[in-house]
């Protein structure tokens, strides 16, 4: 009987440990912020509500910014990108960054810069540092290539175009001729939105080292055919490739995982840990 009682006690404790409550407390956690009308809201209640909504993302962001502060120390580089991003986003509202900030729910431009833009800029530079250091490897991993394409409905037409496209200039002329059926896909990764049959070819494209028309007509999932011209296979515009890889969601997560592991990222609150794992299972080992 006693044994059963103890077992129950143990299982009760187990439940208490694995409960959905946060184990971390904010200082003065029991302080009542608001009361009356049958309610009593403590500082801890509010803290946990904030953690529920923003905790996991905040921890990841703060951690990556802390890592960026160690890895990216060139203030000029940070300020240059910050100014560039300010201009970029202000353009959405006729050059008014305050209006853009307000559209995102921030009250002032400064609040937006401090809480969102500067952390984003630092994280972007952190990613770019990694990409720069591992450029060749990432080109293969994310199957990066750069191409233009013309879509036609007959295989015979596609094969004729392949014969005709003896140079980039000639392919550009053909693109003009085909109007809306031609497009410059620019730099693509294996996660870019493309016809699935084109995506299957990316690994092969990424290994090509000489500019030129791809020798096969690629049958697309809608039964049309794509004629592809691969260009800048030497990756001369390196910054543009770095931007493209940096914007790839998988690459972003993989790079973040690398840095979090490198700096021994650890989360001590189980509930928060689970929420972070929900963002990416691999952020925490």
């Amino acid at each position: 009987m006693k044994k059963i009682g103890l077992l129950l006690l143990c299982s009760g404790l187990l439940v208490a440990c694995s409960s959905s409550d946060y184990t971390s407390k904010v200082s003065d956690s029991g302080t009542t912020l608001v009361s009356g009308e049958n309610i009593s809201v403590t500082k801890q209640d509010y803290f946990e509500y904030l953690l529920d909504y923003y905790g996991a993302n905040k921890i990841i962001s703060d951690t990556l910014v802390a890592i960026a502060d160690k890895e990216v120390t060139d203030e000029t580089q940070i300020n240059t990108l910050l100014e560039q991003r300010k201009k970029d986003y202000a353009e959405y509202y006729d050059g008014d960054l305050t209006k853009y900030a307000q559209s995102l729910g921030f009250k002032t431009e400064d609040e937006y810069i401090e809480n969102a833009l500067l952390p984003d800029v630092k994280q972007e530079l952190l990613r770019k540092k990694y990409i720069e250091d591992n450029f060749d490897e990432l080109l293969t991993t994310y199957q990066i290539s750069r191409f233009k394409k013309i879509t036609v409905d007959k295989e015979s037409t596609a094969l004729s175009l392949i014969k005709e496209a003896t140079s980039e200039d000639k392919f550009d002329e053909l693109m003009d001729e085909y109007g809306t059926d031609a497009e410059d896909a620019d730099i693509v990764t294996k996660n870019s939105t493309l016809d699935e049959n084109l995506t299957k070819k990316l690994e092969e494209f990424s290994k090509v080292t000489k500019d030129g028309v791809y020798s096969e007509a690629i049958k697309l999932s809608d039964d049309n055919y794509a004629v592809v011209y691969l260009y800048d296979t030497a990756h001369e515009d390196k910054d543009e490739y770095i931007d493209a890889i940096s914007a790839d969601d998988d690459a972003k997560t993989d790079i973040e995982k690398y840095y979090l592991k490198k700096y021994n990222f650890n989360v001590y609150d189980e509930k928060l840990k689970e929420a972070i794992k929900d963002i990416s299972e691999d952020y925490i080992e």
């Binding site: 006693k2 143990c10 608001v34 803290f47 904030l50 921890i59 001590y268």
Partner: protein, 324 residues
């Protein structure tokens, strides 16, 4: 042996107990949420960062509001039944529309709305019903004031409708044309609009003599009857009957029975959760919130909540200025 077993159980209990307390890592007495080499992220820092942002302040307001609603308008059997009925009706609709794929389609739609499953949606429905009770109480307690504002802002009117269905509105069949002509002629006789609707309308409202009840700026006639019906409905004067309005699946006639303030006020006297008085003003929740006598034990919290309410009411004022 028994003693050993007992000791093991006690030890297990102690370990479990220490496991619980050990999960709270601290630095100088303050809880650490996470760490990387040489740097701890403290609970206090995260709290201070989040609580001082605009979204953090809005969160405090939302949390207090949520608590007020939960504690003062607890879930009732009626709410549960209401939510069950809605869920059942949705499931039945999906079943009849998608057959074997109903569950998959419903889950996909729920996922788009941010719900994991129908149970999560049901829970949300119940919360919405609790919120409706919260607003309803405010509306009841301040009926005259709310109604006056509603009458000014939402241009309510009692409206009736006649529909003459058509397969192709640009190429009526002889039968459709004859019916349309007959309705037009009858509208020029002494026969009442309601009687004509009852005998000739192809809309489901024919059983109520075409009466659509109170229609206002919050009523969505457009999705059922088309843009032109939606627009015309709010521009008719009392007693006015529209000419034939071409819709997507037929021709419509509208009659504005009344815009009389007292008539409409009487109609809306019984405030239920479907009352337009609860939904015509998206900012009414802030007025309802202000009607509660809350005690603020923390000046920062008081200022944060006040700021959120003031900003919302300022936005309401600006919207009204722009719309006038």
């Amino acid at each position: 042996m028994k003693r050993k077993q007992l000791s093991a159980l006690v030890l297990a209990g102690v370990l479990l107990l220490s496991g619980c307390s050990a999960s709270g890592t601290k630095e100088n007495g303050k809880y650490v949420l996470s760490s990387i080499d040489e740097k701890n992220i403290l609970a206090d820092d995260v709290y201070n960062d989040l609580a001082t942002t605009t979204s953090g302040k809005t969160s405090l307001f939302s949390y207090v509001l949520d608590q007020l609603i939960k504690e003062n308008f607890p879930v009732t059997d009626d709410m549960e039944e209401n939510a069950d009925d809605i869920v059942e009706s949705i499931e039945t609709n999906y079943q009849s529309q998608y057959g074997d794929e109903a569950e998959e389609q419903l889950l996909s739609q729920l996922a788009m709305g941010g719900y994991d499953d129908i149970e999560a949606y049901r829970e949300d429905l119940i919360s919405v019903l609790q919120q409706a009770e919260f607003i309803k109480k405010y509306v009841k307690d301040n009926f005259d004031e709310v109604f006056d504002d509603y009458y000014t802002q939402a241009t309510p009117r009692v409206l009736s409708l006649i529909k003459v269905s058509a397969e192709d509105v640009d190429n009526l069949t002889t039968e459709e044309q004859e019916k349309l002509d007959e309705v037009k002629k009858l509208l020029n006789t002494d026969k009442s609009f309601g009687d004509i609707a009852s005998s000739y309308s192809d809309d489901s409202s024919s059983s109520a003599n075409g009466n659509l009840g109170i229609v206002d700026t919050t009523t969505d006639l457009t999705s059922t009857y088309g843009d032109e019906v939606g627009e015309k409905a709010l521009s008719l004067k009392q007693g006015e009957v529209s000419s034939a309005i071409k819709g997507s699946d037929g021709y419509y006639f509208l009659q504005c029975e009344s815009t009389d303030k007292e008539t409409i006020k009487k109609e809306l006297e019984t405030v239920d959760v479907d009352s337009p008085l609860l939904s015509y003003d998206e900012y009414i929740v802030y007025f309802a919130f202000q009607s509660y006598d809350l005690k603020y034990n923390d000046e920062t919290a008081k200022e944060a909540i006040q700021e959120v309410v003031d900003e919302a009411l300022k936005a309401r004022e600006e919207e009204r200025k722009n719309n006038s």
